[in-house]
Symmetry: C2
Protein backbone atom coordinates (compact mmCIF):
# COMPACT_ATOMS: atom_id res chain seq x y z
CA UNK A 1 0.00 0.00 0.00
CA UNK A 2 2.74 2.46 0.91
CA UNK A 3 5.62 3.11 -1.49
CA UNK A 4 9.17 2.25 -0.46
CA UNK A 5 10.93 5.23 1.07
CA UNK A 6 13.98 4.83 -1.09
CA UNK A 7 11.96 6.06 -4.05
CA UNK A 8 11.43 9.45 -2.46
CA UNK A 9 14.13 12.06 -2.22
CA UNK A 10 14.10 14.59 0.60
CA UNK A 11 17.49 15.33 2.03
CA UNK A 12 16.23 17.60 4.73
CA UNK A 13 13.61 15.31 6.19
CA UNK A 14 14.42 12.59 8.65
CA UNK A 15 12.97 9.92 6.44
CA UNK A 16 15.32 7.05 5.75
CA UNK A 17 18.11 8.21 3.52
CA UNK A 18 19.04 6.60 0.26
CA UNK A 19 22.06 4.30 0.44
CA UNK A 20 25.38 6.04 0.84
CA UNK A 21 28.93 4.76 1.20
CA UNK A 22 29.22 4.08 4.90
CA UNK A 23 30.07 1.44 7.40
CA UNK A 24 27.71 -1.08 8.93
CA UNK A 25 25.95 -0.68 12.25
CA UNK A 26 25.62 -3.71 14.50
CA UNK A 27 22.93 -3.68 17.21
CA UNK A 28 23.23 -6.45 19.81
CA UNK A 29 20.47 -7.48 22.21
CA UNK A 30 22.71 -7.71 25.28
CA UNK A 31 24.40 -10.57 27.15
CA UNK A 32 26.43 -11.57 24.10
CA UNK A 33 29.23 -14.05 24.70
CA UNK A 34 32.36 -12.09 25.71
CA UNK A 35 34.62 -14.83 27.00
CA UNK A 36 34.07 -18.08 25.10
CA UNK A 37 33.43 -18.37 21.34
CA UNK A 38 32.76 -14.63 20.90
CA UNK A 39 30.43 -15.46 18.02
CA UNK A 40 28.81 -12.04 17.74
CA UNK A 41 31.89 -9.97 18.59
CA UNK A 42 33.79 -11.99 15.98
CA UNK A 43 31.25 -10.95 13.37
CA UNK A 44 31.48 -7.32 14.47
CA UNK A 45 35.25 -7.37 14.14
CA UNK A 46 35.16 -9.22 10.81
CA UNK A 47 33.16 -6.34 9.29
CA UNK A 48 36.03 -3.90 9.83
CA UNK A 49 38.23 -2.90 6.94
CA UNK A 50 41.56 -4.80 6.81
CA UNK A 51 43.62 -1.63 7.22
CA UNK A 52 41.58 -0.43 10.17
CA UNK A 53 41.91 -2.89 13.02
CA UNK A 54 41.93 -0.51 15.99
CA UNK A 55 38.91 -0.78 18.27
CA UNK A 56 37.43 1.96 20.47
CA UNK A 57 35.19 0.69 23.27
CA UNK A 58 32.97 3.43 24.73
CA UNK A 59 31.60 2.60 28.18
CA UNK A 60 29.61 5.80 28.73
CA UNK A 61 26.40 3.83 29.30
CA UNK A 62 28.00 1.81 32.07
CA UNK A 63 28.25 2.75 35.71
CA UNK A 64 31.11 0.28 36.11
CA UNK A 65 33.40 1.03 33.16
CA UNK A 66 36.45 -0.21 35.07
CA UNK A 67 34.88 -3.67 35.22
CA UNK A 68 33.43 -3.88 31.72
CA UNK A 69 36.21 -2.29 29.64
CA UNK A 70 38.89 -4.93 30.35
CA UNK A 71 36.49 -7.70 29.31
CA UNK A 72 35.95 -6.15 25.89
CA UNK A 73 39.63 -5.25 25.58
CA UNK A 74 40.54 -8.90 26.10
CA UNK A 75 37.84 -10.11 23.71
CA UNK A 76 38.79 -7.77 20.86
CA UNK A 77 42.46 -8.49 21.53
CA UNK A 78 41.78 -12.21 21.05
CA UNK A 79 39.99 -11.39 17.79
CA UNK A 80 43.05 -9.62 16.38
CA UNK A 81 42.60 -5.93 17.18
CA UNK A 82 45.88 -4.07 16.68
CA UNK A 83 44.95 -1.76 19.58
CA UNK A 84 41.93 -1.45 21.87
CA UNK A 85 41.14 2.02 23.22
CA UNK A 86 39.18 1.69 26.46
CA UNK A 87 37.17 4.90 26.73
CA UNK A 88 35.13 5.31 29.90
CA UNK A 89 33.81 8.81 28.92
CA UNK A 90 31.73 9.47 32.03
CA UNK A 91 31.16 13.23 31.68
CA UNK A 92 30.32 15.97 29.19
CA UNK A 93 33.86 17.24 29.62
CA UNK A 94 35.34 13.89 28.59
CA UNK A 95 32.89 13.78 25.65
CA UNK A 96 34.51 17.00 24.40
CA UNK A 97 38.09 15.84 25.04
CA UNK A 98 40.21 16.05 21.89
CA UNK A 99 42.18 12.95 22.90
CA UNK A 100 39.05 10.83 22.91
CA UNK A 101 38.03 12.28 19.54
CA UNK A 102 41.42 11.40 18.09
CA UNK A 103 41.24 7.80 19.29
CA UNK A 104 37.78 7.37 17.78
CA UNK A 105 38.90 8.89 14.49
CA UNK A 106 41.68 6.32 14.16
CA UNK A 107 39.49 3.31 15.04
CA UNK A 108 37.92 0.95 12.54
CA UNK A 109 35.49 -0.51 15.08
CA UNK A 110 33.61 1.62 17.60
CA UNK A 111 31.74 -0.36 20.24
CA UNK A 112 29.21 0.96 22.77
CA UNK A 113 28.82 -1.15 25.89
CA UNK A 114 25.56 -1.73 27.72
CA UNK A 115 24.28 0.15 30.76
CA UNK A 116 21.77 2.97 30.65
CA UNK A 117 20.88 4.60 27.33
CA UNK A 118 20.08 7.89 29.09
CA UNK A 119 23.69 8.03 30.21
CA UNK A 120 24.72 7.68 26.56
CA UNK A 121 22.48 10.47 25.30
CA UNK A 122 22.78 12.86 28.25
CA UNK A 123 26.59 12.65 28.20
CA UNK A 124 27.26 12.26 24.45
CA UNK A 125 24.38 14.25 22.89
CA UNK A 126 25.79 17.08 20.76
CA UNK A 127 29.38 16.28 21.74
CA UNK A 128 32.53 16.12 19.60
CA UNK A 129 32.87 12.42 20.52
CA UNK A 130 29.44 11.67 19.05
CA UNK A 131 30.25 13.70 15.94
CA UNK A 132 33.45 11.71 15.54
CA UNK A 133 31.50 8.46 15.75
CA UNK A 134 29.07 9.68 13.07
CA UNK A 135 31.90 10.78 10.83
CA UNK A 136 33.66 7.42 11.19
CA UNK A 137 30.43 5.58 10.40
CA UNK A 138 30.03 7.71 7.28
CA UNK A 139 33.57 6.90 6.22
CA UNK A 140 33.33 3.14 6.61
CA UNK A 141 33.96 2.20 10.24
CA UNK A 142 31.86 -0.42 12.00
CA UNK A 143 29.76 1.01 14.82
CA UNK A 144 28.36 -1.60 17.19
CA UNK A 145 26.53 -1.49 20.48
CA UNK A 146 24.99 -3.90 22.92
CA UNK A 147 21.90 -3.47 25.08
CA UNK A 148 21.74 0.27 25.89
CA UNK A 149 24.37 0.78 23.18
CA UNK A 150 21.94 -0.74 20.65
CA UNK A 151 18.76 0.88 21.96
CA UNK A 152 20.30 4.37 21.70
CA UNK A 153 21.25 4.08 18.00
CA UNK A 154 18.09 5.44 16.31
CA UNK A 155 16.90 9.03 16.24
CA UNK A 156 14.33 8.26 18.92
CA UNK A 157 14.88 5.69 21.65
CA UNK A 158 13.02 3.95 24.45
CA UNK A 159 14.67 4.48 27.84
CA UNK A 160 12.08 3.04 30.21
CA UNK A 161 8.86 1.10 30.04
CA UNK A 162 6.27 -0.78 31.99
CA UNK A 163 7.54 -4.35 32.42
CA UNK A 164 4.22 -6.15 32.39
CA UNK A 165 2.05 -4.27 29.91
CA UNK A 166 3.48 -1.35 28.00
CA UNK A 167 0.54 -1.33 25.62
CA UNK A 168 -1.09 1.44 27.57
CA UNK A 169 -0.84 5.04 26.48
CA UNK A 170 2.45 6.38 27.81
CA UNK A 171 3.63 2.87 28.72
CA UNK A 172 7.06 3.55 27.23
CA UNK A 173 9.30 6.52 27.93
CA UNK A 174 11.21 7.83 24.93
CA UNK A 175 13.52 10.64 23.94
CA UNK A 176 16.00 11.57 21.23
CA UNK A 177 18.63 8.88 20.59
CA UNK A 178 22.12 9.09 19.09
CA UNK A 179 20.80 9.51 15.54
CA UNK A 180 22.95 6.83 13.87
CA UNK A 181 20.11 5.26 11.90
CA UNK A 182 16.69 6.47 10.72
CA UNK A 183 13.35 4.74 10.30
CA UNK A 184 13.43 2.26 13.15
CA UNK A 185 13.33 1.81 16.91
CA UNK A 186 15.46 -0.76 18.73
CA UNK A 187 14.66 -2.67 21.90
CA UNK A 188 17.14 -5.08 23.48
CA UNK A 189 16.83 -8.07 25.87
CA UNK A 190 13.67 -8.48 23.86
CA UNK A 191 12.57 -12.04 24.44
CA UNK A 192 14.04 -12.48 27.92
CA UNK A 193 12.13 -9.45 29.15
CA UNK A 194 8.98 -9.90 27.02
CA UNK A 195 9.09 -6.47 25.46
CA UNK A 196 6.65 -7.00 22.60
CA UNK A 197 4.16 -4.52 24.00
CA UNK A 198 6.80 -1.78 24.11
CA UNK A 199 7.36 -1.91 20.36
CA UNK A 200 3.63 -2.23 19.74
CA UNK A 201 3.02 0.97 21.70
CA UNK A 202 5.70 2.76 19.66
CA UNK A 203 4.25 1.41 16.41
CA UNK A 204 0.79 2.62 17.38
CA UNK A 205 2.11 6.09 18.19
CA UNK A 206 3.89 6.29 14.83
CA UNK A 207 3.47 3.43 12.34
CA UNK A 208 6.29 4.63 10.11
CA UNK A 209 9.03 3.25 12.33
CA UNK A 210 10.07 -0.40 12.10
CA UNK A 211 10.26 -2.03 15.52
CA UNK A 212 13.44 -4.10 15.94
CA UNK A 213 13.45 -6.30 19.05
CA UNK A 214 16.75 -8.04 19.63
CA UNK A 215 17.11 -11.08 21.86
CA UNK A 216 20.02 -11.76 24.14
CA UNK A 217 23.08 -13.19 22.38
CA UNK A 218 21.53 -12.07 19.11
CA UNK A 219 22.31 -9.11 16.93
CA UNK A 220 21.45 -7.39 13.72
CA UNK A 221 23.80 -5.92 11.15
CA UNK A 222 22.30 -2.80 9.57
CA UNK A 223 24.10 -2.71 6.25
CA UNK A 224 24.70 0.62 4.49
CA UNK A 225 22.05 -0.30 1.90
CA UNK A 226 19.54 -0.50 4.77
CA UNK A 227 19.24 -4.27 4.77
CA UNK A 228 19.13 -5.96 8.17
CA UNK A 229 20.99 -9.23 8.75
CA UNK A 230 20.36 -11.28 11.89
CA UNK A 231 23.41 -12.79 13.59
CA UNK A 232 24.06 -14.94 16.65
CA UNK A 233 22.20 -17.80 18.28
CA UNK A 234 19.22 -15.72 19.46
CA UNK A 235 16.23 -14.21 17.71
CA UNK A 236 15.54 -10.84 16.14
CA UNK A 237 11.85 -9.91 16.20
CA UNK A 238 10.48 -7.27 13.85
CA UNK A 239 7.21 -5.43 14.37
CA UNK A 240 6.16 -3.67 11.19
CA UNK A 241 3.33 -1.17 11.70
CA UNK A 242 3.46 0.50 8.31
CA UNK A 243 0.16 -1.04 7.24
CA UNK A 244 -1.56 -0.36 10.55
CA UNK A 245 -5.28 -0.05 9.85
CA UNK A 246 -6.38 1.61 13.07
CA UNK A 247 -5.41 2.45 16.63
CA UNK A 248 -7.27 4.29 19.37
CA UNK A 249 -4.09 5.74 20.94
CA UNK A 250 -4.92 9.36 20.20
CA UNK A 251 -8.34 9.04 21.81
CA UNK A 252 -7.11 7.65 25.15
CA UNK A 253 -6.19 9.14 28.47
CA UNK A 254 -2.71 8.30 29.75
CA UNK A 255 -2.57 4.73 31.06
CA UNK A 256 -5.57 3.42 29.12
CA UNK A 257 -5.27 0.30 26.97
CA UNK A 258 -4.22 0.81 23.36
CA UNK A 259 -6.05 -1.01 20.53
CA UNK A 260 -4.21 -2.03 17.39
CA UNK A 261 -5.61 -3.33 14.12
CA UNK A 262 -3.03 -5.03 11.90
CA UNK A 263 0.66 -5.07 12.67
CA UNK A 264 3.02 -7.51 10.97
CA UNK A 265 5.39 -9.65 13.02
CA UNK A 266 8.57 -11.42 11.91
CA UNK A 267 11.18 -13.46 13.77
CA UNK A 268 14.57 -13.60 12.08
CA UNK A 269 17.21 -16.22 12.82
CA UNK A 270 20.88 -16.00 12.00
CA UNK A 271 21.43 -15.60 8.28
CA UNK A 272 17.98 -14.22 7.55
CA UNK A 273 17.41 -10.58 6.76
CA UNK A 274 14.96 -7.78 6.09
CA UNK A 275 14.93 -4.85 3.69
CA UNK A 276 13.90 -1.89 5.86
CA UNK A 277 12.63 0.39 3.13
CA UNK A 278 10.95 -2.24 0.95
CA UNK A 279 9.56 -3.99 4.06
CA UNK A 280 10.64 -7.34 2.57
CA UNK A 281 11.65 -10.47 4.52
CA UNK A 282 14.81 -12.02 3.10
CA UNK A 283 15.63 -15.71 3.50
CA UNK A 284 19.27 -16.73 3.27
CA UNK A 285 19.30 -16.79 -0.53
CA UNK A 286 17.47 -13.48 -0.91
CA UNK A 287 19.75 -11.88 1.67
CA UNK A 288 22.86 -13.10 -0.14
CA UNK A 289 21.52 -11.60 -3.37
CA UNK A 290 20.74 -8.28 -1.70
CA UNK A 291 24.17 -8.04 -0.13
CA UNK A 292 25.95 -9.06 -3.33
CA UNK A 293 24.13 -6.31 -5.23
CA UNK A 294 25.13 -3.64 -2.73
CA UNK A 295 27.67 -1.09 -3.92
Amino acid sequence: MFPPKALLGNDRSMAPQSPTAAGPLVAIGGAEDRTSDLEILKQVFSLSQPDSREVAVIATASGIPEQILPIYATAFGRLGASRVHALAIQSREQAADARNVTLIRQSGVIFFTGGDQLRLTSILGGSPVLEAVRTRLATGAVVAGTSAGAAAMPGTMIYNGCATDALRKGGVNMTFGLGLVAGLVIDSHFLARGRFTRLMEVGASNPEQLGVGIGEDAGVIIHPNRVLEAIGPGHVVLIDSRELAHTNIAELSMGEAVSIEHMILHALVSGHGFDIDARRYLDADALATCLAEAP
Copy 2:
Protein backbone atom coordinates in the same frame (compact mmCIF):
# COMPACT_ATOMS: atom_id res chain seq x y z
CA MET B 1 33.16 24.08 22.12
CA PHE B 2 31.22 21.86 19.75
CA PRO B 3 31.67 22.20 15.99
CA PRO B 4 28.71 23.24 13.85
CA LYS B 5 26.94 20.23 12.41
CA ALA B 6 26.96 21.62 8.91
CA LEU B 7 30.70 20.98 8.76
CA LEU B 8 30.23 17.26 9.14
CA GLY B 9 28.95 15.06 6.37
CA ASN B 10 27.03 11.93 7.20
CA ASP B 11 24.08 11.37 4.95
CA ARG B 12 22.90 8.31 6.78
CA SER B 13 22.82 9.73 10.25
CA MET B 14 19.95 11.77 11.55
CA ALA B 15 22.17 14.70 12.32
CA PRO B 16 20.96 17.96 10.83
CA GLN B 17 21.41 17.85 7.11
CA SER B 18 23.35 20.41 5.16
CA PRO B 19 21.19 23.00 3.43
CA THR B 20 19.30 21.76 0.41
CA ALA B 21 16.90 23.44 -1.96
CA ALA B 22 13.61 23.15 -0.15
CA GLY B 23 10.71 25.12 1.12
CA PRO B 24 10.38 26.76 4.51
CA LEU B 25 8.67 25.22 7.51
CA VAL B 26 6.57 27.45 9.75
CA ALA B 27 5.83 26.28 13.29
CA ILE B 28 3.12 28.25 15.12
CA GLY B 29 2.52 28.17 18.86
CA GLY B 30 -1.27 27.90 18.63
CA ALA B 31 -4.15 30.37 18.96
CA GLU B 32 -2.91 32.44 16.02
CA ASP B 33 -5.30 35.06 14.71
CA ARG B 34 -7.56 33.40 12.11
CA THR B 35 -10.27 35.99 11.66
CA SER B 36 -8.87 39.51 12.04
CA ASP B 37 -5.48 40.70 10.77
CA LEU B 38 -4.20 37.17 10.07
CA GLU B 39 -0.68 38.38 10.76
CA ILE B 40 0.94 34.97 11.02
CA LEU B 41 -1.14 33.23 8.36
CA LYS B 42 -0.36 36.14 6.03
CA GLN B 43 3.35 35.50 6.53
CA VAL B 44 2.85 31.77 5.90
CA PHE B 45 1.04 32.47 2.66
CA SER B 46 3.55 35.11 1.55
CA LEU B 47 6.31 32.50 1.65
CA SER B 48 4.64 30.46 -1.10
CA GLN B 49 5.96 30.60 -4.61
CA PRO B 50 3.97 32.94 -6.89
CA ASP B 51 2.95 30.14 -9.25
CA SER B 52 1.83 27.90 -6.43
CA ARG B 53 -1.07 29.52 -4.58
CA GLU B 54 -3.17 26.45 -3.76
CA VAL B 55 -3.41 25.64 -0.05
CA ALA B 56 -4.02 22.21 1.50
CA VAL B 57 -5.25 22.33 5.09
CA ILE B 58 -4.83 19.00 6.89
CA ALA B 59 -7.03 18.64 9.98
CA THR B 60 -5.91 15.14 11.01
CA ALA B 61 -4.91 16.38 14.47
CA SER B 62 -8.35 17.80 15.10
CA GLY B 63 -11.33 15.94 16.48
CA ILE B 64 -13.62 18.62 14.99
CA PRO B 65 -12.36 19.07 11.42
CA GLU B 66 -15.79 20.17 10.22
CA GLN B 67 -15.54 23.19 12.54
CA ILE B 68 -11.90 24.11 12.02
CA LEU B 69 -11.49 23.58 8.27
CA PRO B 70 -13.93 26.32 7.15
CA ILE B 71 -12.17 28.87 9.36
CA TYR B 72 -8.83 28.23 7.65
CA ALA B 73 -10.47 28.01 4.24
CA THR B 74 -11.92 31.48 4.74
CA ALA B 75 -8.66 32.89 6.09
CA PHE B 76 -6.50 31.57 3.23
CA GLY B 77 -9.17 32.61 0.76
CA ARG B 78 -8.95 36.18 2.09
CA LEU B 79 -5.17 36.03 1.70
CA GLY B 80 -5.44 35.18 -2.01
CA ALA B 81 -5.29 31.39 -2.24
CA SER B 82 -6.42 30.25 -5.68
CA ARG B 83 -7.96 27.13 -4.09
CA VAL B 84 -8.12 25.75 -0.55
CA HIS B 85 -8.31 21.97 -0.18
CA ALA B 86 -9.94 21.12 3.15
CA LEU B 87 -8.57 17.69 4.04
CA ALA B 88 -10.00 16.13 7.20
CA ILE B 89 -7.96 12.86 6.84
CA GLN B 90 -9.25 11.10 9.93
CA SER B 91 -8.11 7.52 9.20
CA ARG B 92 -5.19 5.46 7.88
CA GLU B 93 -7.32 4.68 4.84
CA GLN B 94 -7.77 8.36 4.03
CA ALA B 95 -4.04 8.89 4.60
CA ALA B 96 -3.43 6.41 1.77
CA ASP B 97 -6.08 7.87 -0.53
CA ALA B 98 -4.65 8.85 -3.90
CA ARG B 99 -7.02 11.82 -4.18
CA ASN B 100 -5.61 13.37 -1.03
CA VAL B 101 -2.07 12.74 -2.27
CA THR B 102 -2.88 14.48 -5.55
CA LEU B 103 -4.28 17.57 -3.82
CA ILE B 104 -1.20 17.85 -1.61
CA ARG B 105 1.10 17.47 -4.60
CA GLN B 106 -0.52 20.42 -6.34
CA SER B 107 -0.49 22.71 -3.29
CA GLY B 108 2.09 25.38 -2.60
CA VAL B 109 1.13 25.73 1.06
CA ILE B 110 0.41 22.74 3.28
CA PHE B 111 -1.03 23.63 6.68
CA PHE B 112 -1.51 21.31 9.66
CA THR B 113 -4.19 22.41 12.13
CA GLY B 114 -3.97 21.96 15.88
CA GLY B 115 -5.48 19.17 17.93
CA ASP B 116 -3.58 16.13 19.17
CA GLN B 117 -0.13 15.36 17.79
CA LEU B 118 -0.65 11.63 18.43
CA ARG B 119 -3.54 11.73 15.99
CA LEU B 120 -1.16 13.21 13.41
CA THR B 121 1.51 10.57 13.86
CA SER B 122 -0.71 7.54 14.43
CA ILE B 123 -2.80 8.32 11.34
CA LEU B 124 -0.15 9.81 9.01
CA GLY B 125 3.00 7.89 10.07
CA GLY B 126 4.40 6.00 7.06
CA SER B 127 1.47 7.04 4.83
CA PRO B 128 1.47 8.25 1.21
CA VAL B 129 0.00 11.56 2.41
CA LEU B 130 2.98 12.17 4.69
CA GLU B 131 5.39 11.20 1.92
CA ALA B 132 3.66 13.67 -0.39
CA VAL B 133 4.08 16.41 2.22
CA ARG B 134 7.80 15.62 2.54
CA THR B 135 8.25 15.60 -1.21
CA ARG B 136 6.50 18.96 -1.56
CA LEU B 137 8.64 20.43 1.21
CA ALA B 138 11.75 19.19 -0.59
CA THR B 139 10.55 20.79 -3.82
CA GLY B 140 9.81 24.22 -2.40
CA ALA B 141 6.34 24.22 -0.86
CA VAL B 142 5.67 25.93 2.47
CA VAL B 143 4.71 23.49 5.21
CA ALA B 144 3.16 25.13 8.26
CA GLY B 145 1.48 23.86 11.38
CA THR B 146 -0.03 25.26 14.54
CA SER B 147 -0.04 23.80 18.04
CA ALA B 148 -0.05 20.01 17.54
CA GLY B 149 0.80 20.63 13.89
CA ALA B 150 3.98 22.41 15.03
CA ALA B 151 4.89 20.03 17.86
CA ALA B 152 4.78 17.02 15.51
CA MET B 153 7.25 18.44 12.95
CA PRO B 154 10.57 17.13 14.33
CA GLY B 155 11.82 13.55 14.29
CA THR B 156 10.91 13.17 17.94
CA MET B 157 7.99 14.97 19.56
CA ILE B 158 6.46 15.58 22.97
CA TYR B 159 2.84 14.42 23.16
CA ASN B 160 2.11 14.74 26.87
CA GLY B 161 3.72 16.14 29.97
CA CYS B 162 3.26 17.02 33.58
CA ALA B 163 1.66 20.46 33.73
CA THR B 164 3.24 21.70 36.93
CA ASP B 165 6.76 20.28 36.96
CA ALA B 166 8.00 18.23 34.03
CA LEU B 167 11.57 18.42 35.25
CA ARG B 168 11.28 15.02 36.81
CA LYS B 169 12.58 11.93 35.08
CA GLY B 170 9.87 10.77 32.67
CA GLY B 171 7.95 14.03 33.11
CA VAL B 172 7.38 14.31 29.37
CA ASN B 173 6.04 11.64 27.06
CA MET B 174 7.64 11.48 23.64
CA THR B 175 7.59 9.42 20.49
CA PHE B 176 8.59 9.65 16.83
CA GLY B 177 7.27 12.78 15.09
CA LEU B 178 6.61 13.51 11.42
CA GLY B 179 10.32 13.88 10.61
CA LEU B 180 10.11 17.19 8.74
CA VAL B 181 13.06 18.79 10.50
CA ALA B 182 16.09 17.45 12.39
CA GLY B 183 18.00 18.70 15.40
CA LEU B 184 15.25 20.31 17.43
CA VAL B 185 12.16 19.70 19.53
CA ILE B 186 9.12 21.98 19.40
CA ASP B 187 6.66 22.82 22.16
CA SER B 188 3.65 25.06 21.58
CA HIS B 189 1.40 27.19 23.84
CA PHE B 190 4.74 27.64 25.54
CA LEU B 191 4.36 30.73 27.71
CA ALA B 192 0.62 30.44 28.36
CA ARG B 193 1.10 26.93 29.72
CA GLY B 194 4.51 27.45 31.37
CA ARG B 195 6.24 24.64 29.55
CA PHE B 196 9.86 25.54 30.27
CA THR B 197 10.45 22.43 32.33
CA ARG B 198 9.31 20.19 29.47
CA LEU B 199 12.06 21.41 27.17
CA MET B 200 14.57 21.34 30.01
CA GLU B 201 13.78 17.68 30.62
CA VAL B 202 14.25 16.91 26.91
CA GLY B 203 17.52 18.86 26.84
CA ALA B 204 18.80 16.95 29.84
CA SER B 205 17.94 13.63 28.22
CA ASN B 206 19.73 14.60 25.01
CA PRO B 207 21.56 17.95 24.89
CA GLU B 208 22.03 17.81 21.12
CA GLN B 209 18.49 18.93 20.35
CA LEU B 210 17.57 22.62 20.38
CA GLY B 211 14.42 23.27 22.39
CA VAL B 212 12.02 25.60 20.57
CA GLY B 213 9.14 26.86 22.73
CA ILE B 214 6.59 28.85 20.76
CA GLY B 215 4.13 31.18 22.43
CA GLU B 216 0.54 31.66 21.37
CA ASP B 217 0.11 33.94 18.35
CA ALA B 218 3.82 33.54 17.68
CA GLY B 219 5.60 31.44 15.14
CA VAL B 220 8.96 30.54 13.78
CA ILE B 221 9.99 30.19 10.15
CA ILE B 222 12.57 27.43 9.74
CA HIS B 223 14.31 28.49 6.56
CA PRO B 224 15.92 25.88 4.28
CA ASN B 225 19.37 27.05 5.41
CA ARG B 226 18.37 26.10 8.96
CA VAL B 227 17.98 29.64 10.23
CA LEU B 228 15.02 30.32 12.49
CA GLU B 229 13.03 33.55 12.14
CA ALA B 230 10.50 34.57 14.80
CA ILE B 231 7.20 36.01 13.57
CA GLY B 232 4.01 37.30 15.15
CA PRO B 233 3.27 39.33 18.27
CA GLY B 234 4.25 36.57 20.72
CA HIS B 235 7.56 35.15 21.91
CA VAL B 236 9.72 32.27 20.77
CA VAL B 237 11.83 30.83 23.57
CA LEU B 238 14.91 28.75 22.80
CA ILE B 239 16.55 26.36 25.25
CA ASP B 240 19.99 25.39 24.03
CA SER B 241 21.50 22.47 25.94
CA ARG B 242 24.45 21.82 23.65
CA GLU B 243 26.91 23.07 26.26
CA LEU B 244 25.25 21.27 29.15
CA ALA B 245 27.92 20.63 31.78
CA HIS B 246 26.14 18.00 33.84
CA THR B 247 22.79 16.38 34.61
CA ASN B 248 21.83 13.61 37.01
CA ILE B 249 19.02 12.27 34.80
CA ALA B 250 20.62 8.91 34.11
CA GLU B 251 21.12 8.27 37.81
CA LEU B 252 17.50 8.87 38.86
CA SER B 253 14.49 6.68 39.34
CA MET B 254 11.40 7.66 37.37
CA GLY B 255 9.71 10.72 38.87
CA GLU B 256 12.77 12.04 40.72
CA ALA B 257 13.90 15.64 40.26
CA VAL B 258 16.37 16.30 37.45
CA SER B 259 19.42 18.52 38.03
CA ILE B 260 20.85 20.62 35.22
CA GLU B 261 24.12 22.53 35.09
CA HIS B 262 24.28 25.13 32.31
CA MET B 263 21.60 25.50 29.69
CA ILE B 264 21.34 28.65 27.56
CA LEU B 265 18.05 30.47 27.23
CA HIS B 266 16.95 32.93 24.53
CA ALA B 267 13.69 34.75 23.87
CA LEU B 268 13.19 35.85 20.28
CA VAL B 269 10.75 38.53 19.20
CA SER B 270 9.43 39.10 15.71
CA GLY B 271 12.24 39.82 13.27
CA HIS B 272 14.94 38.18 15.37
CA GLY B 273 16.45 34.85 14.44
CA PHE B 274 18.75 32.00 15.36
CA ASP B 275 21.16 29.84 13.39
CA ILE B 276 20.36 26.29 14.52
CA ASP B 277 23.64 24.66 13.58
CA ALA B 278 25.98 27.48 14.58
CA ARG B 279 23.93 28.13 17.75
CA ARG B 280 24.06 31.87 17.04
CA TYR B 281 21.47 34.48 18.03
CA LEU B 282 20.67 36.80 15.15
CA ASP B 283 19.36 40.32 15.67
CA ALA B 284 17.39 41.91 12.84
CA ASP B 285 20.50 43.00 10.91
CA ALA B 286 22.29 39.67 11.32
CA LEU B 287 19.14 37.80 10.32
CA ALA B 288 18.76 39.91 7.18
CA THR B 289 22.37 39.15 6.26
CA CYS B 290 21.89 35.42 6.85
CA LEU B 291 18.78 35.29 4.74
CA ALA B 292 20.28 37.39 1.95
CA GLU B 293 23.24 35.01 1.75
CA ALA B 294 21.01 31.94 1.47
CA PRO B 295 21.01 30.19 -1.89
